[in-house]
């Protein structure tokens, strides 16, 4: 994407003020977005975004400058602007660049660029029509398709050079259903690091149907009661809990600053012995996967909790340096060339256990079964979290009974995972976007059925 002589000139300019190392991240992002709402194509947009950022790092400090213009003059000017943020005398130099070609773990069979717009519009329509077909109580349907091909060129003064392309596709349906003044919404949004072939396996009809069926089921729900109870999270649904309650607190920038409840607890039995969780950027074609992270490290799988024992954290280069580690865990990610990397999750997975999913519920005298969790928030310093439950049932004497809505899960991360007392043999993945420091990146969550002995439910009923 960039000429090697331009790269060397840029990195050389970047190191003139005492940086330990410098890096160029250049990106070309071609994207398509289609949104059909209530039978109308409301949006069909194409975008090309190009740009490059130069980062200079000295110990724990970094300076960054970026531009939309990829000429040598412009890159060198950005390098000088970044270098001006570092004070010192030059001591590092640019190593010979070696092009690295990591194995492609996420093969693309049908590149979005090779599929015409009419086909993409037709696919989105199929999801929309399938949702409308679920019944007269369906009042609004939004179906949206998005694909992106993100070419990432990375080079640094340590000699790394890579040029990889990440392709992602997603189809989302959001449905509003109404009955007698009660209005409920349903959502389904599968995505993957795949091309258009994704929709050979995940049919657009299934996406529309699932979203509509969820909205319709919620019409038969009553407001959730509040209070403390046993909570069973269905396969896939508990992923948001793991992501929010554990994952953010195990990002190494928070650990280095001692602003997380998990800081200094490596090796401690924090979670229940049934609980093993990993972050895995190598998950084949996963929504949060890649081959090379956004600062040149190969994708990795990092064990965070090994049978409840705190076993690792997720780092980028700077947070790894702060923790005295020799290398990052390959979790340096950024939203685009306009952002500096942060330690971020990729695919957060809780590994399956030994209980049959039905048996996990059968033991519960009184509790709540959550079928899907919405967005959440966590305060890493305290571990306290809150997030919405999109769909749930009350459990009474081992049976699912009343369908409920509007519940919030309120609790504390370490306490919640210490109270995991059953883990299912099943497993399912969900996809989402995670925000941190104003940057959004795709992440996936995967879990088996999980049971937590006690959690606080905030409800409106």
């Amino acid at each position: 994407m960039l000429d090697e002589a331009d790269v060397t000139a840029t990195l050389t300019a970047a190191l003139t003020t005492g940086g330990d190392w410098a890096e160029i991240y250049a990106e070309q992002r071609d994207s398509t977005a289609i949104r059909i709402e209530d039978h109308r194509v409301e949006e069909l947009t194409s975008g090309r975004d190009i740009g490059a950022g130069v980062r200079v790092v000295r110990g724990p400090q970094s300076a960054y400058a970026y531009t939309n213009v990829l000429s040598r003059d412009s890159l060198v000017a950005a390098a000088k602007a970044a270098a001006a943020g570092i004070a010192g005398a030059q001591h590092a130099s640019v190593a010979d660049l070696t092009r690295e070609s990591p194995p492609t773990r996420h093969p693309i069979r049908l590149a979005p660029d090779d599929v015409d717009k009419a086909t993409k519009v037709a696919l989105t329509r199929r999801a929309e029509e399938a949702a409308w077909a679920q019944g007269a109580e369906v009042r609004q349907v939004l179906a949206a398709y998005a694909d992106v091909a993100q070419r990432v060129f990375l080079a640094n003064s340590n000699g790394h050079l890579s040029d990889t392309t990440r392709v992602r596709s997603r189809l989302v349906a959001q449905v509003v259903a109404a009955r007698d003044g009660l209005v409920q919404t349903g959502f389904e949004g599968p995505g993957a690091s795949r091309g258009f072939e994704l929709f050979g396996e995940v049919t657009p009809e299934s996406v529309g149907e699932k979203a509509a069926q969820q909205a319709l089921r919620l019409l038969d729900s009553v407001p959730s009661p509040a209070g403390e109870m046993t909570v069973v999270l269905n396969a896939g649904g508990g992923g948001v809990l793991f992501h929010e309650a554990c994952g953010h607190g195990l990002e190494a920038d928070a650990i280095a600053k001692d602003t997380t409840v998990y800081a200094g607890r490596r090796g401690e039995q924090v979670g229940s012995e049934l609980f093993t969780g990993v972050d895995d950027a190598t998950l084949p074609n996963g929504w949060g996967s890649f081959d090379v992270d956004d600062e040149g490290a190969s994708a990795q799988r990092t064990v965070l909790f090994d049978h409840g024992v705190l076993a690792g954290e997720m780092s980028d280069r700077i947070s790894a340096y702060k923790l005295g580690l020799t290398a990052s865990s390959g979790n340096g990610r950024r939203q685009s060339y306009a952002s500096v990397p942060q330690p971020r999750m990729t695919n957060s997975l809780v590994l399956p256990g030994e209980s049959g999913p039905a048996a996990v519920i059968a033991d519960v005298a009184h509790g709540l079964y959550a079928e899907g969790l919405g967005g959440g928030e966590v305060n890493p310093a305290t571990g306290d979290f809150v997030f919405g439950i999109t769909e749930a049932y009350l459990i009474s004497n081992g049976e699912l009974t009343q369908r409920i809505r509007g519940a919030n899960l309120i609790g504390n991360g370490p306490r919640a995972i210490s109270l995991v007392d059953a883990v299912g043999t099943d497993f399912a993945l969900k996809q989402g976007m995670c925000g941190k420091g104003g940057q959004w990146v795709p992440v996936a969550f995967g879990t088996p059925t999980l049971r937590i002995a006690r959690l606080t439910i905030g409800g409106t009923g």
């Binding site: 709402e37 209530d38 039978h39 109308r40 194509v41 409301e42 949006e43 069909l44 947009t45 194409s46 975008g47 090309r48 975004d49 190009i50 740009g51 724990p60 400090q61 970094s62 300076a63 960054y64 400058a65 970026y66 531009t67 939309n68 970044a82 943020g85 717009k117 009419a118 519009v121 609004q140 509003v176 009660l182 209005v183 407001p223 509040a226 403390e228 600053k257 001692d258 602003t259 306009a338 500096v340 919405g374 967005g375 959440g376 928030e377 305060n379 310093a381 305290t382 306290d384 979290f385 809150v386 919405g388 509007g406 519940a407 919030n408 309120i410 606080t456 905030g458 409800g459 409106t460």
Partner: protein
């Protein structure tokens, strides 16, 4: 002035007969400095450009964007937008605005920011960190202290005759303080904003962050009770953010607002008004025109408790018909997106009283300092919500013992009708828009706990 408008105008060159074409161009220069432990953590300097092109042909809309602002890049964007329009659905809302006279707002660009040296910006961030640590002995660390500024320019040109450009400066500094006692940690947020470095009040932001963190130490989960509830200005601003989406005509037309079909209804306490004003100089979002070149203005959405108007852009106004006009509330996330309806500077209006009077009136009540789960916890259609809250009891007109892990559940309309007193401490927060907070006394609400 002029260069960016020239760029936008140049993107219209390839327009064909029967097409309406609009180019929205942006150019931004920004700096941010984050410090930690007395040292610079990250310094970022940025320059971005980009163009978004809308094409309307036979009532169909197509859009494409590019950050390649070269003649070939602009031609490619126009060609793609035209091709995308071919797949669009014809709609009465697919129209570009007609030109209207607009009055520049030179005051939103305070000159001099370009010449502030990076070292001075670093010093401001370090000063904020130091002042926060010094403000309260219980503050043991600062998660991060940040200084940021930017000069943003936007231009809109269209074949329908719109031609507008403006520039604005923004400067801010914020801190997240960490107070500790034993194993317990609490965080507190402090913020100062302005249009120039001279307008920042670093000492006030430091004191705010420190106080908000320290006063939560020792927080306990309360027993469930029904008491008067007071919202902190930041909490009020966050709720206003949720309300903002409900005032959008786009949400109303799509049946996604609980205010749909309720113009003329009493939706709030008779003492309360809700106003959007794009020309309000102390609002962070102040601008002479919106993101499709329509002049901004003051729009009273709720007047003395009665719902009067919704926020419109050109598209929603055309869909409503019957002489409905845009309120100048077209809003884009950047050059990469088509306009949607968004608030400019949104605030609560009414008779404002000293905050001390509110605390005196709320004896035995709960002062809510932070809410969590607001965006996942509010149903935009029914207005039901249940959020986690952190705060302090109010006793004898003062903030007393802290509270954590509590919940507050109600509905948006019940909450608006329960507003009893509005504080005179109005202040804008650039959190997901430009939303003004103020201390707010609500009537009795149930606070969930053990």
């Amino acid at each position: 002035m002029g260069e960016l408008l020239d760029l936008a105008t140049s993107a219209l060159v390839g327009a064909q007969g029967g097409e309406a074409v609009e180019a929205y161009a942006v150019h931004g220069v920004a700096t941010s400095v984050a410090v930690y432990g007395g040292e610079v953590e990250t310094l970022t300097s940025a320059e971005t450009r980009g163009v978004g092109v809308r094409v309307v042909v036979d009532g169909r809309l197509g859009f494409a964007s590019s950050s390649e602002v070269t003649p070939p890049g602009l031609e490619r964007a126009l060609a793609q937008a035209r091709s995308n329009a071919g797949f669009g659905t014809p709609d009465v809302g697919n129209v570009l605005p007609e030109p209207a006279p607009w009055e520049p707002m030179p005051a939103i660009l305070v000159p001099g920011l370009e010449s502030v040296p990076a070292a001075r910006k670093v010093e401001l961030a370090l000063e904020l960190e130091r002042a926060t640590l010094a403000a309260d002995p219980r503050v043991r660390a600062v998660q991060r202290a940040t200084y940021g500024d930017g000069i943003s320019r936007a231009a809109v040109a269209s074949t329908t005759g719109v031609s507008a450009e403006y520039a604005r400066s923004d400067v801010y500094a914020y801190v997240s303080a960490l107070a500790r006692a034993g194993e317990e940690t609490q965080t507190g947020f402090g913020l100062t904003t302005g249009r120039s470095v001279a307008e920042l009040d670093i000492a006030a932001a430091a004191a705010e962050g420190a106080a908000r963190a320290a006063r939560l130490l020792g927080a306990r989960k309360p027993a469930t009770t029904t008491v008067p509830v007071v919202f902190d200005p930041l909490v009020t601003a966050q709720f206003l953010g949720v309300l903002a989406s409900m005032f959008s005509a786009e949400a109303v037309q799509k049946g996604r607002s609980l205010f749909a079909g309720r113009l003329g209804d009493q939706v709030a306490d008779a003492g309360l008004s809700i106003v959007d004003d794009g020309r309000l100089l102390d609002g962070p979002a102040a601008a002479p025109v919106d993101d499709e070149g329509v002049p901004t203005r003051r729009t009273v959405l709720v007047e003395d408790g009665v719902l009067r108007r919704f926020l419109h852009d050109t598209e929603t106004a055309a869909r409503d018909g019957d002489g409905t006009t845009s309120t100048g509330n077209a809003s884009r996330a950047g050059h990469t997106s088509t306009p949607g309806v968004g608030p400019s500077n949104l605030f609560l209006d009414g008779t404002a009283v000293p905050v001390a009077d509110i605390l005196a009136a709320a004896d035995g009540g709960l002062y809510v300092q932070d809410v969590s789960g607001l965006h996942s916890g509010v149903n935009p259609v029914s207005g039901e919500f249940s959020v986690g809250v952190t705060g302090l009891w109010v006793r004898g007109g003062e903030l007393a013992e802290p509270v954590r892990e509590a919940t507050v559940s109600s509905t948006i309309v019940e909450m608006l009708r329960a507003v009893a007193m509005l504080g005179e401490d109005r202040r804008f927060f650039p959190v997901g828009g430009s939303l003004a907070g103020a201390t707010l006394l609500l009537g009795f609400m149930t606070v969930g706990g053990t």
